[in-house]
């Protein structure tokens, strides 16, 4: 946007959705809100693509002998399920889609710090996503999402691995650029009067996430670049047959991919902090502890990658140190959890859809976090390694916690993004079905794992049939819940009631902008206030939403 364009009088009244028409005004937009919406579309498509792969896997495992697809096809299905879900849904989901939309609004700015970089980041991500889909066309990928050599880089693997490595590289750079934008925006573009401890906790969470995105993702970038070159030119870096070391790949890979789980969970925790406070009608309890625990998780998260490699042959002292450091992550995570629960204590809890999802988050994240301790502790990890216990644990954290928080955030900010209220009954039904379906899918996998069922196998011993069938039924229920959620949201675009500026009675700045916001976000540049001060907010009517008495604005 040039200076002159912003000064056009009258351009301030229309919403960002009406500011510019036609496909080019979307694809080449510099508006963070439109970029956020484009990300959202790609990410939801990726979620459903990854979900289709998951359903094939689950139906294949209905019988101990498999049988729905060939064993080779099964290997490709679980690989693409993992790769698509991780690189195209869970990692970018909350920061790139919801974060892009919300961050400038919450700091009270007109846009992110570097709008062109933001658009570049979107297109890098889109290109990476296309390459992942292209791996399907050239015969798929069957290495598992971790892409471990030597298997993944053997000459017989074909073109799929090269496309996947390039896709990861591009999506990674997209993630770095998003991180740079968020840190610069939060540092330099806060509204006047907004100190560091006046930031909504979602911003603290994204700030901590951005630290990881900027400093861990480049290591993944160089790793997949090395893998790519190794496959083509036989450099002898990762492949033992040319003098390389495959364990070095594992170290590099997890130096990124462990912190990456905090790229996934920290923004989810940020959403929870917002929603739990607003829907308990009570200021967040322990603001500074929640803020600082995000930073602590980001920092400690860099030092624990070796816990993925307890069985790789690294030295036992290394194992002990990584195990110890891993258990440290439990401290800031528990600090957050207790503060959220204390926020609800004696609050006036409103059971709208976002809050229902957040309550699911508490239950599931509790189990997911505690089972993480079993895997971080050396003695219990060795027998549980590579069993379904691990599969259940990381699905509890990545799906049960991250995806459910994503849905909470999506419903919470949906009125702001679209100007429409979703149907509360459909939202409630989706939240309940997702919770039940999720638990039915993954709780049996804990038991199968403890009993010794290995992950990633296309067939299994007959004794695990009961657990697997429960899991498959659960996956159907979960999918139904997700389809209802999508239906409820999409239907609201046509039939939903007009959303007021502040439908939830929240106190952070994005709710002082119109729903949907104007192109420049705020008609009058806002001043920072206290984001959890609900005093003086009162509900006028469902159509007019909540208004702050005294008229001083947030």
């Amino acid at each position: 946007m040039t200076h002159a364009e912003a000064a056009v009088p009258g351009a301030t009244g229309e919403s960002y959705l009406d500011h510019g028409r036609g496909i080019r005004s979307w694809l080449l937009t510099l508006d963070h809100k439109r970029i956020g919406i484009m990300y959202l579309v790609l990410i939801v498509v990726s979620l459903f693509l990854g979900g289709i792969f998951a359903m094939v896997v689950r139906f294949h495992l209905w019988n101990p002998g498999g049988g729905l697809v060939s064993n080779d096809a099964y290997n490709k299905m679980f690989t693409l399920h993992g790769a698509v879900m991780i690189f195209l849904f869970v990692i970018p989901g909350i920061p790139s889609a919801l974060g892009n939309f919300v961050v400038p609004l919450q700091v009270g700015a007109k846009d992110v710090a570097f709008p062109r970089v933001n658009l570049l980041s979107f297109w890098l991500f889109a290109a990476g996503a296309v390459l992942f889909v292209a791996t399907l066309v050239v015969g798929g990928l069957d290495t598992g999402w971790t892409l471990y050599p030597p298997y993944s880089l053997e000459s017989s693997r074909g073109l799929g691995i090269l496309l996947a490595l390039t896709g990861v590289f591009l999506a990674g750079f997209s993630s770095i650029l998003t991180g740079v934008n968020f840190i610069a925006t939060i540092h330099k573009m806060r509204a006047p009067g907004m100190g560091w401890f006046d930031l909504p906790l979602f911003l603290w969470a994204l700030y901590a996430t951005a630290i990881i995105q900027i400093f861990a993702t480049p290591v993944l970038g160089i790793t997949v670049a090395l893998g790519f070159l190794e496959r083509l030119f036989h450099l002898g870096i990762f492949m033992p047959e040319y003098g390389g070391d495959p364990v070095l790949f594992q170290h590099f890979f997890w130096f990124y991919s462990h912190p990456a789980v905090y790229i996934m969970i920290l923004p989810a925790m940020g959403i929870v902090s917002e929603v739990v406070s607003v829907f308990s009608r009570k200021p967040i309890f322990g603001y500074r502890f929640i803020a600082m625990s995000s930073i602590a998780i980001a920092v400690i998260g860099f030092l624990v990658w070796g816990h993925h490699m307890f069985t790789s042959g690294q030295s036992k002292w290394t194992n002990v140190i990584f195990s110890f450091l891993t258990l440290l992550v439990a401290i800031p995570s528990a600090i957050k959890t207790f503060n959220w629960l204390a926020t609800m204590y004696k609050g006036a809890i409103v059971l709208k859809t976002p809050m229902l999802y957040v309550l699911s988050f508490f239950a599931i994240f509790g189990v997911g976090g505690l089972t993480g301790l079993f895997l971080g502790a050396l003695a219990t990890d060795i027998p549980l390694h590579d069993t379904y216990f691990v599969v259940a644990h990381f699905h509890f954290v990545m799906v049960g916690a991250v995806m459910i928080a994503f849905l909470a955030g999506l419903h919470y900010w949906w009125p702001k993004m679209t100007g429409r209220m979703y149907d509360e009954r459909l939202g409630t039904a989706s939240a309940v079905l997702v919770f039940l379906g999720f638990n039915l899918t993954f709780i049996p996998q804990f038991f199968a794992g403890v009993a010794g069922m290995p992950r990633r196998y296309a067939t299994y011993a007959a004794q695990f049939q009961g657990a697997n069938r429960l899991s498959t039924v659960g996956a159907v229920v979960l999918t139904t819940g997700l389809v209802i959620a999508l239906w409820g949201l999409l239907a609201s675009l046509r039939r939903g009631a007009r959303a007021p500026a502040n439908p939830w009675g929240a106190a952070s700045l994005e709710w002082t902008a119109a729903s949907p916001p104007i192109h420049d976000n705020f008609a009058v540049p806002p001043r920072g206030g206290r984001p959890y001060d609900f005093g003086g907010l009162r509900l006028v009517s469902d159509e007019a939403g909540w208004v702050r008495a005294g008229g001083e604005g947030a």
């Binding site: 200076h3 170290h251 590099f252």
Partner: protein, 238 residues
């Protein structure tokens, strides 16, 4: 990293207080400069981590194959490396000078220092080209393809020549080509950026009121220089 409007520029360096290049979402030129500087520093931090994987690989393989690394470094000519180090340090000086010229509104000085930086970057790559082609002509390639010719073996010091050629010599040169190659790509990108800056400087875009691109590219260039300062001793001298 900024969001400037390009073209239609009247001649003359951008004066202080001019808001011709102020993007719509910043309140002032100072805020824009501040934000851009933070952005470029974060990006450079990310670049350091990008190279760190390769430095780690170097460290791991050097620790595991010390004698191989010591043997292999005799194939690298320290005089070429030293020459390139001097060239890059001078280019960094010139890059820093260009920022000063932009801040002071000295158009001739700005054009001269930008051009000098570009030329020195080119000299670096020419020297690198001679080094690479000399090695590749003599069979010093990467990985399993590394089979040094008799001609190049005869140029080694006598005590080194007496040793048998190690089996995994190519591992050293894989890492050598990867690290210097990735660095070389960064030099090429830098040259592209300096061509762009020269074009904009020719139009008179830069001056005391607006020098974000000159400053940001110079910071990037200093990082490229810094990385070489680590590469030179690691490969040529140790």
């Amino acid at each position: 990293m900024s969001d400037p409007a390009t073209g239609h520029a009247p001649a003359g360096p951008a004066a202080p207080g001019s808001t011709r290049f102020l993007a719509h979402h910043f309140p002032s030129m100072e805020a824009q400069l501040d934000t851009s500087k933070l952005g470029i520093w974060l990006f450079l931090g990310s670049e350091v981590l990008f190279f760190s994987g390769l430095f780690t690989a170097y460290g791991v393989y050097r620790a595991n194959h010390f004698s191989l690394f010591h043997y292999a470094h005799h194939f690298l000519d320290w005089r070429m490396g030293a020459l390139n180090t001097v060239v890059l340090v001078l280019s960094s000086l010139s890059a820093a000078w260009s920022v000063r010229c932009a801040q002071l509104g000295q158009r001739r000085g700005l054009n001269a220092t930008l051009l000098l930086t570009l030329v020195l970057a080119g000299v670096f790559l020419v020297v690198k080209y001679f080094e690479y082609s000399h090695k590749l002509h003599n069979g010093i390639a990467w990985g399993a393809a590394c089979r040094p010719s008799e001609a190049i073996l005869s140029t080694l010091p006598p005590d080194v020549r007496a040793l048998p050629v190690p089996k995994d010599l190519g591992t050293f040169f894989s890492i050598y080509y990867l690290m210097t190659g990735l660095h070389g790509i960064h030099v090429l990108v830098g040259m592209g950026l300096y061509v762009w800056l020269l074009g904009r400087a020719g139009r008179g875009d830069f001056g005391p009121g607006y020098y974000v691109p000159v400053d940001s590219v110079a910071l990037y260039w200093h990082l490229v220089d810094m990385i070489w300062i680590f590469l030179f001793p690691l490969f040529y001298l140790m």
